[in-house]
Every structure is written in C-alpha cells, then in structure tokens.
C-alpha cells in the first residue's frame, strides 16, 4: 500500500490506495467508498480497481505512481491526479496523469497525460454554484522550473485544453515528502498553494494565493513573465486574446460616451 485518502461529500467517502499482494510487485489502485452511515462496515463497497503495472525491476516500486487524494464532485463522480515514474529507458521519466470517473463505482473512467516534466502533485476541484456546471481541476506540481500551477476549464480529456503557469522558481526540487506542494481553493474558487522554497539559502514554508488581479502590461510584460513564471509564448497568446476582447469593449464605450456628449451639446 503506498497511499490512501479520504474525502467528504455529504455522506460519501472514498478511500483509495495502491496495493500489491505478490512479489515481484504488481500494483493496483484499489478503492473503497461509503454512501450513508460509514460507521457501518456493510455500507462500504468496492470502487474502481485499476492495474497500474510493474514499474520497476529494482524494488523501487513505491514511487512508481504517486496519487493525489481523490476529489469527489457533488454528483458522486471523482477525480485524482498522479505522477508515473517510468524507469524503462534507464532514465526516470515522470508523467502527470489526470484521471476521472463519473460515479463512485468508477464507470466511464478516463485519463489524460498532461506533461512529462511535472511531479509531486496536489489536486483540487472547483465547486461550481450550479450543479449543471462541471467542476474543473486545479493542480499544484513541481517542474524543473519550480512550483507550477496547472489547470483546465473544459474538455479536460484533451491535453491541449490544459494550461500552466510557473508560480515560484525558488522551490526545493528534491523528491522528499516535505517538498510536495498542497493546493486548496477559496470560496471564490481561486487557488492557494502551500509549498517549501529556498530563499537566501534557507528553506522557508510559503503560501502563494492566486488572484484575478490584472498583471503588469506593456514594457513590464517580459519582467512579469519572469517574476510570475508564465511562459512568454503563453503569456503573449493570452494577452492577445485579452486585447482582442478589450479593444472592441473600449471602442464601444468611447462611442457611447461620444453619443452622450453629442446629446448634451444639442441641449
């Protein structure tokens, strides 16, 4: 067993864990869930059982897969994220995988590989005010560049719909348990990440809240990209979209102001 988790959603709880019964290890992600009175063992049932394979012939299987806690949505569906460590070529390659299913039994299970340089993940799901709106994943992860925020707003089975931002480059990049970031969402669904960083040669515990405050524009854009870690190409593309929307808005507002002034002059 390498991991387990417990989540609250009304009266539903899910525990998930990886377990091997044989040697050499053959890992399965197993899960149990409860609906109703969880103090009664008979209310616990088996959830998805997913083979995750033999990752390592050298006995280093413990960290082949590392899963975030399962996050349960209000409709009983669930999602989790993990990093797969593949030693197949002799060089460890980590792959970030986002997995989701539509109910506690694990039907319509799906997954997508998000990237090959992200690890040590933590997952939160948004809680939309309307049940008709699907929750969306928010992930904190480590990359070679530092602490990274990864998100998707729609079509999350398609890797192209995932976005990433570098939050803080000053992050301890070793793979001990303490460097794993932790992410949470506030009531406005904005993320906050707790993590360990190195500042002036000392390890510090940090908290980074994400906000919708406007980023610096114009000549400061490149500086902002380095400070906030957004890749310049992504930043430019996002800025273009924003400007595309902002220009007609400004034009329309100026036009309306002009019309009001003309009306005033006539009076």
């Amino acid at each position: 067993m390498v991991d387990h988790s417990l989540e609250r959603n009304g009266t539903a709880y899910v525990v998930t864990y990886a377990y091997s019964r044989f040697w050499p290890p053959s890992f399965n992600l197993l899960s149990r869930y409860c609906l109703g009175d969880c103090t009664d063992p008979s209310n616990w049932s088996d959830g998805p059982s997913l083979p995750i394979g033999n990752c390592d012939e050298q006995g280093l299987q413990t960290f082949c897969y590392r899963w975030s806690p399962v996050r349960i949505r209000s409709d009983g569906s669930a999602a989790f994220v993990g990093t797969k460590l593949d030693w197949g070529t002799g060089v460890p390659v980590t792959t970030l995988e986002y997995r989701s299913y539509v109910d506690p039994q694990g039907s319509d299970f799906s997954w997508v590989e998000i990237g090959q340089d992200l690890r040590s993940t933590s997952l939160a799901l948004t809680r939309p005010s309307s049940p008709d709106v699907a929750p969306t994943p928010r992930i904190a992860a480590l990359s070679e560049d530092g602490l990274t925020y990864v998100s998707c707003d729609y079509g999350c089975a398609q890797v192209a719909n995932w976005h990433r931002q570098l939050v803080d480059p000053l992050v301890v990049a070793t793979n001990d348990g303490g460097t794993w970031p932790r992410i949470a969402l506030n009531s406005s669904q904005l993320p906050g990440i707790a993590y360990k960083a190195i500042a002036s040669g000392e390890e510090v515990l940090r908290f980074a809240p994400g906000s919708n405050a406007p980023p610096p524009w114009g000549p400061a854009t490149e500086a902002a990209a380095s400070v906030y870690g957004v890749r310049t190409s992504e930043k430019a593309a996002e800025a273009n979209y924003m400007l595309l929307g902002a220009i007609p808005v400004l034009a329309g507002l100026l036009s309306i102001i002009g019309r009001i002034r003309r009306v005033h002059r006539r009076r």
């Binding site: 387990h4 525990v15 919708n212 929307g245 309306i256």
Partner: protein, 207 residues
C-alpha cells in the same frame, strides 16, 4: 444593420471575448513566507471566510514539532500569519480538516518521544492563539505504526464530526489494514472515538 446596432454587437462581442478568457488565462501569483523554519507540509485548507490553515511539521533534534499556521486577509504578507506549536517531538505524519463553522481538527501519528499511536486535537475560535488549542489527546491505536507517508487522513462532515482513515499493520494477524475512525461528540475524550475496519490485506510482502 443600423449604426447603433453595429455598435451594440461590437460591444457584446468584445465583452464575451474578454469574459471567456479572463477566468482561466490570467491568474496573478504573489507569495508570503509562513515560517522560516521550513517544514514538511501536511495540508492546506481554506475556511468559508477566506482564512487559510496550514498544518506542517518540522524535524531535527531541537525543533521537531507539529505546527499550525493560519492567516486571514492578505495571506501573501508574512506579517499576517500566526503560528502555533501543537505538539513537540518527531512525528510520522499529520492531517488537518476544517469544519463548516471554521473549526480546525488535527490528527497526528506517532510522536517519537511519547506513547506510540494517534493523537487528536481541535480548535474553534481564534486558532492562531496557542491557548485555544487543548493539549493533543492520545487516542491509542498503537498498531498504526507503518513507516510511510500519508498514513492517514482526516475530514470533518457537515455536522462537524471528525472522521478519519488510517493504515496500520497487525503483527499478530500479519495483516495490513485500513480503519475508519469516527467520533460524534466530546471528541477530546478518548472514549468517544471508535473505529471500523474497511479493508484488510493479508501477507503484505514488504511489511
């Protein structure tokens, strides 16, 4: 199309474009130092009022402890964080949960210099003040002694009742197991806690 209609369409098109992009494309990140002692992060949670709660633990001969930090307001300002040492000594792992009313609950496993087992404490009110945290209660459960990360997890249900799962090993049965811990009232009394076994695995190969 009349000129005013064109102007209106132009305005709405721009607004739609702006609003569609804004939620996901532009998050601005700032940060503040919570504790210069570093630490291993167990959990972070927001409460419904926007307060942030972090549970972490430090290791080392002198400053090993389970620690809690909280902030309300501008949490990227280090001055807005309060820190409390909940339990001194080295621990295996710890878990934090925030209840609907903002109460904070903590489960701690196996401090090295205390009786081995599980400890619980909780706070309601101003949790950045040490005096609002009762001394952690020893719940027992000494068989939960596996050396692994994330050995247990804690949540608080909608009625403010703490519930946890914990992984353990029973050497008599040679069995790896997962237990569900629960308490409905007076949870700072060990007799109020119970457990049910929800999974068991015989012959775990690496234990």
């Amino acid at each position: 199309m009349r000129r005013s209609e064109k102007r209106g369409a132009f305005l709405w098109l721009g607004l739609a474009c702006f609003l569609l992009c804004a939620p996901s494309c532009q998050l601005t990140w700032t940060h503040g130092d919570v504790d210069t002692t570093g630490g291993y992060i167990s959990d972070v949670q927001y409460d419904d009022q926007g307060g942030v709660h972090i549970l972490y633990y430090t290791v080392g001969d002198k400053d090993a402890a389970v620690r809690y930090a909280t902030c309300s307001g501008q949490c990227d300002d280090s001055n807005n964080w309060s820190r409390v040492v909940l339990l001194e000594g080295a621990v295996k792992s710890a878990s934090l949960a925030v209840g609907p009313s903002g109460s904070v609950h903590v489960l701690v496993q196996e401090p090295a210099e205390l009786p081995r087992g599980v400890y619980y404490t909780s706070c309601s009110g101003e949790c950045g003040r040490p005096e609002n945290w009762p001394a952690p209660l020893f719940l027992g459960f000494p068989k939960y002694t596996l050396h692994m990360m994330n050995n247990f997890n804690l949540v608080v249900d909608d009625n403010e009742h703490p519930r946890g799962t914990i992984v353990g090993y029973d050497p008599d049965l040679r069995q790896l197991f997962v237990d569900y811990l629960y308490c409905d009232e007076r949870c700072l009394s060990a007799e109020s806690w119970s457990s049910v076994r929800i999974a068991a695995f015989p012959d775990a190969p690496w234990v």
